[in-house]
C-alpha cells in the first residue's frame, strides 16, 4: 500500500510543475497588460508606465520572471493581487469555502441520484426506466451550464418566484463566518429563517453545477454495473441463494464502484470548471467568480495563484481517490 501511494505521489510532483508553467504562460498570452488596466480611462504617461512595469517586474525577460515566481512559490508565497494588493492565499482562503460548499452539494446531488439511477437502469436493462435515465443523462450532459442555469433562474426565480436569483443568503441576515459554510453558519447563528434562506440560495446553483457529474455518474454506474452483472462471481452469489439486494447491492456494486469512484474523482476537476460559470451566473461569491473577475482585470498574480491552487486541490483529490480505489479493490492494494 505504501509503495502504491508513493508511486502516485511521484506523478503528482512533475504535474504540479507543469501547472505552474501553464498558469504562468497562459495569462501572459492574453492581450492587454495589467498596468494599463490599473490606470483606467485616464491613461498614464510612458515614463509612469515603464516605472510601474519595472516595479512589478514585468519588464524582465519572461524566463527570469518565471524563475522569480518559482522562487516565491518555494517560499510558500503565492503572490499579491495587483488590484487589491491582498495576498492571493488570503483572498483564496476567504472565498474558497463558498465554492467548496457549492461543489459538495452539487456532488452530493450527483452521487445521491446518479448512483441509484445507474444501478436500477442496469438491473432493468432495456426497460422504460432505463431508456428515460439514459436519455435524461445524455440531455443533462449535453446542456451548456450557462444556458441551463439561466433556464432554471427564469423558471424558479422569475416565473414561480420560489428561489432568489443570486448570492448566498438574504441581506436580512448577518453573522460572522465561523466555518465559512453558509448552511452551517446560518444554523450556528441561531437566527430564525437564516438556514432556509441559505438553502434556497444554494439549491439552484447546486443543481446546475451537479447536472453534468450526475449524468456522468449515472452512465458510468450503469455501464460498470452491466459489465459486473455478467461476471461469474455474480452468478456464484446467486447460486448461494442470496437475495437480489445482497447480490446487486453488495457483490455487484462493490466491483462496479471501482470505475465509478475514479470517475467521481475526475468530476472534481469538472466541478471547478463548472463552478466558474455557475458562480458567475448566480453571483456566488466563490473562487470561480473571483477567477473570472481576475482574468478581466488582467490580475496576473491572482490568476496564476488561483489556477495553481485549484490545480493543486484537484490533484490532491485525485490522489485521495486513487488511495480510496486501492482500498476498494484489493487487487490494486496487494500487487503494487
Amino acid at each position: 500500500m505504501f509503495g502504491y501511494f508513493f508511486k502516485k505521489l511521484l506523478v503528482v510532483v512533475p504535474t504540479f510543475f507543469g501547472v505552474t508553467l501553464v498558469a504562468f504562460v497562459f495569462i501572459r498570452t492574453l492581450p492587454g497588460d495589467p498596468v494599463m488596466l490599473l490606470a483606467g480611462e485616464r491613461g498614464m504617461s510612458d515614463e509612469r508606465h515603464a516605472q510601474l512595469m519595472a516595479e512589478y517586474g514585468f519588464d524582465k525577460p519572461i524566463l527570469v520572471q518565471y524563475g522569480i515566481y518559482l522562487k516565491q512559490l518555494a517560499g510558500g508565497d503565492f503572490g499579491t493581487s495587483i488590484i487589491t494588493r491582498q495576498p492571493i492565499l488570503q483572498e483564496f482562503a476567504t472565498l474558497f469555502p463558498a465554492t467548496v460548499e457549492l461543489s459538495l452539494c452539487a456532488m452530493f446531488i450527483a452521487v445521491f441520484f446518479g448512483l441509484p439511477a445507474g444501478m436500477i437502469a442496469a438491473t432493468k436493462r432495456g426497460s422504460i426506466f432505463d431508456h428515460s435515465v439514459m436519455t435524461g443523462a445524455l440531455t443533462g450532459y449535453s446542456m451548456p451550464i450557462f444556458w441551463w442555469g439561466l433556464l432554471l433562474i427564469i423558471m424558479f426565480s422569475g416565473i414561480l418566484g420560489w428561489t432568489p436569483v443570486s448570492g448566498r443568503i438574504s441581506m436580512l441576515y448577518y453573522f460572522e463566518p465561523v466555518t465559512g459554510f453558509m448552511l452551517i453558519d446560518s444554523l450556528l447563528s441561531g437566527q430564525e429563517g437564516a438556514f432556509v434562506s441559505a438553502m434556497s440560495h444554494l439549491v439552484l446553483p447546486a443543481i446546475v453545477l451537479g447536472t453534468i457529474p450526475l449524468a456522468v455518474i449515472a452512465r458510468q454506474t450503469r455501464s460498470a454495473m452491466l459489465e459486473v452483472l455478467s461476471e461469474d462471481y455474480v452468478r456464484t452469489a446467486r447460486a448461494k441463494g442470496l437475495g437480489p439486494q445482497r447480490v446487486i447491492g453488495l457483490h455487484a456494486l462493490r466491483n462496479a464502484l471501482i470505475p465509478v469512484i475514479t470517475v467521481i474523482g475526475l468530476q472534481v476537476g469538472v466541478l471547478f470548471a463548472g463552478a466558474i460559470l455557475t458562480e458567475t451566473i448566480f453571483s456566488w461569491p466563490g473562487i470561480g467568480k473571483w477567477m473570472v473577475d481576475s482574468i478581466f482585470r488582467r490580475d496576473y498574480s491572482a490568476v496564476q495563484g488561483g489556477l495553481l491552487l485549484i490545480a493543486a486541490i484537484v490533484m490532491f483529490v485525485n490522489l485521495a481517490v486513487d488511495l480510496l480505489y486501492g482500498l476498494i479493490n484489493p487487487q490494486i492494494r496487494h500487487t503494487d
Binding site: 452469489a237 448461494k240 496487494h334
Partner: protein
C-alpha cells in the same frame, strides 16, 4: 424416490435471430448418494440445463418442464424466495472457472461465511469455526490464515477448493459440479476430482458431474447421460456405456479417446455442434454421423427402448453395429 426428478426440461432463448433451443426435452433422475455424469461437447446444453434447474439463467431464458422436482418439492411452481432457500443450501453448484467465480473484492472468509449466516443463521463465532473446519475439509493448509486472503492471492486449484467449501457449507443433498476441473492443471484436476469423490462419500450427497472428459466419466460416475446439441442422446451405466454404446455419437466420442485409439492418427468427429442457424431438419447428429441415411436427414428420431439406453437414433447400435439398418454399413 429419486432426489431429483426432471422430465422434458426445455430451455429456449428469444434472440435477435429467432427462437434458440439450448436444451431440448432433457430428462434426468438422480437417486440419493448417486454420482451421475452429463457428457457432451461445448454447446450441448449441459450447463444450461443445470443452471435452469438452479434458477440461475438470465430472464431472457424460457424454461419449461413437465416435472422438475427436488426432494419432493415442485420447482416449477415454487416462488423465487422459496427457491433461494434451497439453492446454496440443499442444492449447490460449483463452476468451471474458479478464478472468476469468486468475488475479487471480498475475502475468502467473507464469501465462505455468507451461506452459513443466511441459510443456517449462525453467529460470528460459529461461522468462523465452521469456516475453518470447511477449509480443512477441502484440504486448504493454514485455514485460519486463508480466511483473510483474497481470491487473487490463491491459485486456481485453491480457489476451486474454496468454491467447493462454499458449496458444501450447508451439507447439500445435491452438488452440481459444472466442469470443475477444466480450467485447472492436469495434476490439480486429479486432486479436485478425488476431493469431490471423497466428500460425496463422506456426506452421502448426490453428485452431478458435468464434463466433456470421458476419462473423468470413467473414473467417477455410476451413470452417464450423453447430451448433444441440447438433446439427450443416450443414458446408461458407465460400464455399459464404455462396453456397448448405443448411439453413434457416443461411439464416436469413445473412439476419439487417445487410449482407445490404435491408429497413427487420432480419430475425431468431423464438424461442429450445429448452432442456431444450421440445425438440420432430421436427426441433429446426421451431418456428422457415419450411418446417416435419407430417413435421418428427413425425420428426427425418437428415444429408443431402455435396453438401448433410450438412444435417440433411428438405428441404435448393438455391439457396435446399427440395428434395422438398410443396406451395407460404410466403413
Amino acid at each position: 424416490m429419486p432426489l431429483l426428478d426432471i422430465d422434458n426440461l426445455s430451455v429456449t432463448f428469444q434472440t435477435a435471430g429467432g427462437l434458440f433451443t439450448a436444451v431440448d426435452r432433457v430428462s434426468l433422475h438422480i437417486n440419493p448418494s448417486e454420482i451421475v455424469s452429463i457428457v457432451g461437447e461445448s454447446g450441448s446444453g449441459k450447463s444450461v440445463a443445470m443452471l435452469a434447474l438452479m434458477g440461475l439463467l438470465p430472464w431472457t431464458a424460457n424454461v419449461t418442464a413437465d416435472v422438475l422436482r427436488f426432494d419432493g418439492q415442485d420447482l416449477t411452481t415454487i416462488t423465487k424466495p422459496e427457491l433461494r432457500k434451497i439453492i446454496g443450501s440443499q442444492m449447490a453448484m460449483i463452476f468451471q472457472e474458479p478464478m472468476t467465480s469468486l468475488n475479487p473484492c471480498f475475502t475468502v472468509g467473507f464469501q465462505l461465511t455468507e451461506t452459513l449466516k443466511i441459510h443456517l443463521g449462525m453467529n460470528r463465532a460459529e461461522q468462523k469455526r465452521r469456516a475453518i473446519e470447511l477449509l480443512e475439509l477441502v484440504g486448504i493448509p493454514e485455514p485460519e490464515k486463508r480466511l483473510s486472503a483474497y481470491p487473487h492471492q490463491l491459485s486456481g486449484g485453491m480457489n476451486q477448493r474454496v468454491m467447493i467449501a462454499i458449496a458444501i457449507s450447508c451439507n447439500p443433498r445435491l452438488l452440481i459440479a459444472d466442469e470443475p476441473t477444466t480450467a485447472l492443471d492436469v495434476t490439480i484436476q486429479a486432486q479436485i476430482l478425488d476431493l469431490l469423490l471423497k466428500l460425496q462419500k463422506e456426506k452421502g450427497m448426490s453428485l452431478v458431474l458435468i464434463t466433456h472428459d470421458m476419462g473423468v466419466v470413467a473414473e467417477t460416475a455410476e451413470r452417464v447421460f450423453v447430451q448433444y446439441a441440447g438433446q439427450q442422446v443416450e443414458q446408461q451405466s458407465v460400464k455399459g456405456l464404455f462396453a456397448r454404446p448405443h448411439h453413434p455419437y457416443t461411439q464416436a466420442l469413445l473412439n476419439s479417446l487417445p487410449e482407445r485409439s490404435n491408429s497413427r492418427i487420432l480419430p475425431s468427429i468431423a464438424g461442429i455442434v450445429p448452432g442456431q442457424f444450421d440445425k438440420p431438419e432430421g436427426c441433429l447428429f446426421s451431418p456428422r454421423c457415419h450411418y446417416t441415411t435419407n430417413l435421418c436427414l428427413a425425420k428426427p428420431p425418437l428415444p429408443g427402448p431402455a435396453d438401448f439406453g433410450y438412444a435417440l437414433c433411428h438405428y441404435p447400435l448393438l455391439e457396435g453395429v446399427p440395428t434395422n439398418y438398410p443396406g451395407e454399413v460404410r466403413a
